[in-house]
């Protein structure tokens, strides 16, 4: 459906420096899927989205939608953005303040000039009903609340039945409660409409909740593409692991392969571990392990000796309401463990840890 190939962009800053915002970006999105570009600010995700939209002209690369090439540097193709037929929701919503709700949503149909006045009214009415704004058609757009503006922007973007829906951090201007509700709304709408969607966000929770597939970006490059679960459970490197959730990083040396395929024996400063690696490892190689805090399971009772079981001491703890964070001292290493708040082991007491070998990830690169 959408394919982006070796996309590179460049622009000059005010001081004349050349900044490479996106480097060798390449990905494919299947029809009807929800694809997210996730990364910290300045990672090039917005530039990539604006390049797809046609708001920016990349230096090199190729972008095609449904087999139609909309940009190709080698063939000198650049389809003007008003001929691309993509819908877009801007971060600021960009609701036109001089128009009513209806006029805002009708604009994309009016400028095409192919539908009759009545057909336009019908289509707009349907779309406004989808976003639950059908009662407010004649209201001035500036009189809408933040959430309503966001839904109007969405209605305007989908009213022309675009081939591609582009969303640039559409939830970031909403307050926390509304943001959570709109997440479900957005997911439901996208599924119902079946429109291929590209979503840009810096919020990892949003990305995991909404997407079929996530591309994590850093410093202009895509560092990992995968399903939300794969990205979270099997991060390729320290950046992904750190950016999405929190993680314990442990230095280790590879001892050799375990009998179970995919598992490897490694040595850390607090003892030997079984860890998972997607790629084969060389014995003696130095690696870094990533262990999610919720996978460090604590218990006060001693458990039978087995792989990946250690004894440590609670060095501090923080009660967070729906969970509790414990810092556990094991030998000379401190591990963070996220547990059910019912665990009440006092600071300074001994506690027993176990880590599932499958959840103990050897990072393939640093």
């Amino acid at each position: 459906m959408l394919s982006v190939n070796s996309l590179n962009t460049e622009y000059r800053t005010g001081r004349g420096e050349v900044l490479r915002a996106a480097r060798d970006i390449a990905f494919e999105v299947e029809k009807g899927k929800f694809f997210t570009l996730l990364g910290p600010s300045g990672c090039g995700k917005t530039t990539t989205l604006r390049s797809i939209a046609g708001l920016e002209r990349p230096l090199t690369g190729e972008i095609a939608v449904n087999g139609r090439v909309v940009f190709s540097s080698s063939r000198g193709i650049f389809v003007a953005l008003n001929k691309r037929n993509f819908g877009m929701v801007f971060q600021s919503y960009a609701i036109w303040p001089h128009m009513t709700v209806f006029e805002n949503a009708a604009f994309p149909l009016q400028v095409r000039g192919t539908l009759s006045r009545q057909a336009i009214a019908e289509r707009v009415g349907k779309v406004l009903a989808v976003v639950a704004l059908d009662e407010l058609g004649s209201r001035e757009a500036t009189k809408l609340s933040g959430g309503q503006q966001q839904r109007l922007a969405l209605a305007r973007a989908i009213v022309m039945e675009p081939e591609l829906l582009l969303l640039d951090e559409p939830l970031s201007n909403l307050d926390a409660k509304l943001r959570e509700r709109m997440r479900f709304e957005l997911k439901r709408l996208q599924r119902e409409l079946g429109v291929t969607t590209i979503y840009v966000t810096h919020d990892q929770a949003e990305a995991l909740a909404l997407s079929h597939e996530v591309a994590v970006m850093n410093e202009g490059r895509i560092v990992q593409i995968g399903s939300p679960r794969a990205i979270y459970e099997r991060p390729l490197n320290r950046f992904v692991s750190e950016f999405i959730g929190s993680s314990n990083f442990v230095d280790a040396t590879v001892l050799g392969a375990d009998n179970t395929p995919g598992l490897w024996r490694v040595r850390t400063s607090f003892g030997d571990l079984l860890a998972h690696s997607e790629t084969p490892l060389l014995s003696g190689a130095s690696v870094t392990l990533s262990i999610r805090p919720e996978n460090v399971v604590l218990s006060e009772a001693e458990t039978p000796a087995a792989a990946n079981r250690f004894t440590g001491m609670v060095s501090s703890k923080v009660f967070q309401g729906d969970f509790a964070d414990f810092q556990i001292r094991v030998a000379n290493v401190t591990l963070l463990s996220r547990t059910h708040p019912s665990l009440r082991t006092p600071t300074g007491e001994t506690v027993h840890l176990s880590i599932d070998p499958e959840k103990c990830i050897v990072l393939s690169s640093v």
């Binding site: 622009y11 939209a53 708001l55 920016e56 003007a80 953005l81 008003n82 001929k83 691309r84 037929n85 993509f86 819908g87 877009m88 801007f90 971060q91 600021s92 960009a94 036109w96 303040p97 001089h98 604009f107 994309p108 400028v111 095409r112 500036t142 922007a153 305007r156 973007a157 022309m160 582009l166």
Partner: protein, 577 residues
């Protein structure tokens, strides 16, 4: 002093005297005197018969009844409104198209258009109008003569001595101002409003018409009114182009009423009051529209670089438009002035006339009887006005923005009042006031200083107000907590922090003071001429070639001053001067 007699640092010496109230009081009195007294006397004069040696002035309504029942006045009103709105529409259309092309498209030569915005500053109105007379008068206009020669006809192609001609000259003179106003409006618009329209499939023209211009509507209305007021206040243009052919507007009629014999001050004052009503209305509605416009300013926090739309091959046409504009606003007027300044007797550019080029006129200007005096007067007035206005408006601005004194907004309005007063009206009002009050100021250079200070006080208020708004109150409060008196705080903290704004405003007022003509022309006497008045005299005497030479020198001097100001402004981090 020995270590034992250590004065307590925490306690300042118990001085009972605070300089705050005397200084503020003096500033309030000066401002009220400057802005209100002439206005009161102007109103008074409009209800009085002219005083003559045998007859004291008496109350009368005749001025108003004569003015408002005469058909002449309605012709005057019609001419003034037509002239001002025509000129404003022309400059607004030009300025808006230029601003749109410059801000929103990829037309080349962008920096050229920006550079040209200083033109109205460096070319005084009288020179701009004179230059266009030399270009497009039916008899001696270069454009006419060249076209007539080319087509071998005696058809008159352009005639500036008509109402459309006057609108044309005034319109292109103010186009750079319209460009600046509309550029600012376009820049404060959230670019994603237009991007989303493009994403919706609209064409560039549809976006411009249905989104950009619609959103700019309040700004367009406000800019139109500013330009309208500028044009209706304009004196040089109607005096030079309209008076010779009997096309009269309010300003030229005021001038004529005063220079007729016997002069009719009452009639002039009545015209002036009428003009004041029109300009006040214009400024009032302008501020209403400007406030309305801020409702649309929905700038998002995220600073996108606005996308430039690709005009394709049309951008060369747009670049041609830029160059044509440059030629009309500065190229042709300046060249024709330079050409005529090099001719001993005015001649149309040709190879034959090229042989008679000489610097004779420049020498003649140096020998002009009052020139030395005039240059000195202009410099003195410019520096004195700028310094006095900036200090005065800093104190008033502080009082308005920093204190909670009841009625301070009245003071703000009084200080901004001269904004609605055309230069000619200020000149007339001050003339009336100081003739009636006596005191011997009339006929001295001080009367000009008073007029300039009155006229440019609102500029000072604007520059100082803008920088005071950015100055955190805590900076002053901590100085006072450190034990500084009000005067010390003002001198050591407020003034230094206002410095960039003070310098920018000072330079601006110096420039506009040097160009000032419409007040000066009513208030000068032999010995107190200024440079612009010398230009005016030369025009009256028909010394066009000497006028051109003096004009070229004045433009060069003002240009150097603007360049210096910009270099200076950059050092202080000012974006515009």
């Amino acid at each position: 002093m020995t270590a034992t007699e250590h004065p307590a640092i925490g306690l300042s010496k118990p001085s009972g005297f605070d300089a705050k109230w005397p200084i503020i009081g003096a500033a309030v009195l000066i401002v009220a005197w400057l802005a209100l007294v002439p206005l009161v006397f102007l109103l008074w004069q409009s209800f009085m018969t002219p005083a003559s040696p045998g007859m004291p002035a008496m109350f009368t309504l005749a001025n108003y009844s004569n003015v408002y029942t005469g058909a002449e006045t309605f012709r005057l009103l019609g001419n003034s409104l037509t002239f001002a709105s025509g000129a404003a529409v022309l400059s607004l259309v030009l300025g808006t198209s230029l601003a749109w092309l410059n801000e929103r498209t990829n037309t080349p030569f962008k920096s050229l258009v920006y550079a040209l915005s200083v033109v109205p500053l460096v070319i005084p109105g009288i020179l701009f109008v004179t230059a266009w007379i030399m270009l497009a008068s039916p008899k001696i206009g270069v454009l006419n003569l060249l076209l007539q020669r080319a087509f071998d006809t005696d058809h008159v192609f352009f005639d500036v001595y008509t109402l459309p001609g006057m609108m044309w000259v005034d319109g292109i003179q103010h186009a750079p101002l319209a460009f600046l106003l509309m550029s600012a409006a376009f820049r404060s618009m959230d670019p994603s409003l237009e991007e989303s329209a493009l994403m919706s499939g609209a064409s560039i023209l549809q976006v411009a018409r249905r989104v950009t211009l619609r959103l700019a509507l309040p700004a367009l209305a406000a800019s139109f009114l500013i330009l309208f007021v500028r044009s209706i206040e304009s004196f040089e243009n109607p005096a030079l182009l309209g008076l010779p052919v009997g096309i009269q507007v309010f300003t030229s009629s005021i001038y004529e009423a005063l220079h007729a014999y016997p002069s009719d001050v009452g009639l002039a004052s009545t015209y002036a009051v009428t003009l004041l009503v029109i300009t006040s209305g214009g400024i009032y509605w302008q501020s209403r529209f400007a406030r309305h416009g801020s409702r649309y300013a929905t700038l998002s926090g995220k600073g996108y670089r606005p996308r430039r739309m690709d005009l394709g091959n049309w951008r060369y046409a747009a670049a041609g438009f830029f160059l044509l504009y440059a030629a009309l606003v500065i190229g042709l007027p300046f060249l024709v002035l330079v050409w005529s300044s090099l001719q001993r007797f005015y001649a149309v550019p040709s190879l034959a006339a090229l042989k008679t080029v000489s610097l004779y006129n420049y020498r003649a200007v140096m020998d002009y009887p009052s020139i030395g005096n005039a240059v000195w007067n202009s410099i003195f007035l410019a520096f004195a006005t700028a310094t006095a206005v900036m200090i005065l408006s800093a104190v008033i601005g502080w009082l308005v923005l920093r204190t909670r004194i009841p009625g301070r907004w009245i003071l703000d309005n009084i200080a901004s009042l001269p904004m609605v007063m055309p230069g000619l009206v200020i000149g007339l009002a001050i003339m009336v006031a100081y003739l009636a009050l006596g005191g011997g100021l009339y006929g001295t250079i001080w009367i000009l200083l008073i007029a300039y200070m009155t006229r440019f006080l609102p500029y000072g208020m604007r520059f100082n107000g803008a920088s005071l708004l950015q100055l955190h109150k805590e900076l002053e409060e901590s100085a006072q907590l450190s034990g500084a008196s009000w005067f010390t705080t003002f001198r050591r903290i407020v003034l230094p922090l206002l410095k960039p704004g003070l310098i920018a405003g000072w330079i601006y007022i110096v420039i506009v003071s040097i160009r000032e003509l419409s007040s000066s022309v009513l208030l000068y006497s032999p010995g107190t001429e200024v440079v612009s008045v010398v230009l005016w005299e030369m025009w009256q005497n028909g010394q066009y070639v000497q006028l051109s030479a003096l004009g070229v020198m004045l433009i060069a001097a003002l240009f150097v001053f603007v360049l210096a100001a910009q270099a200076f402004g950059r050092r202080f981090g000012l974006s515009e001067v």
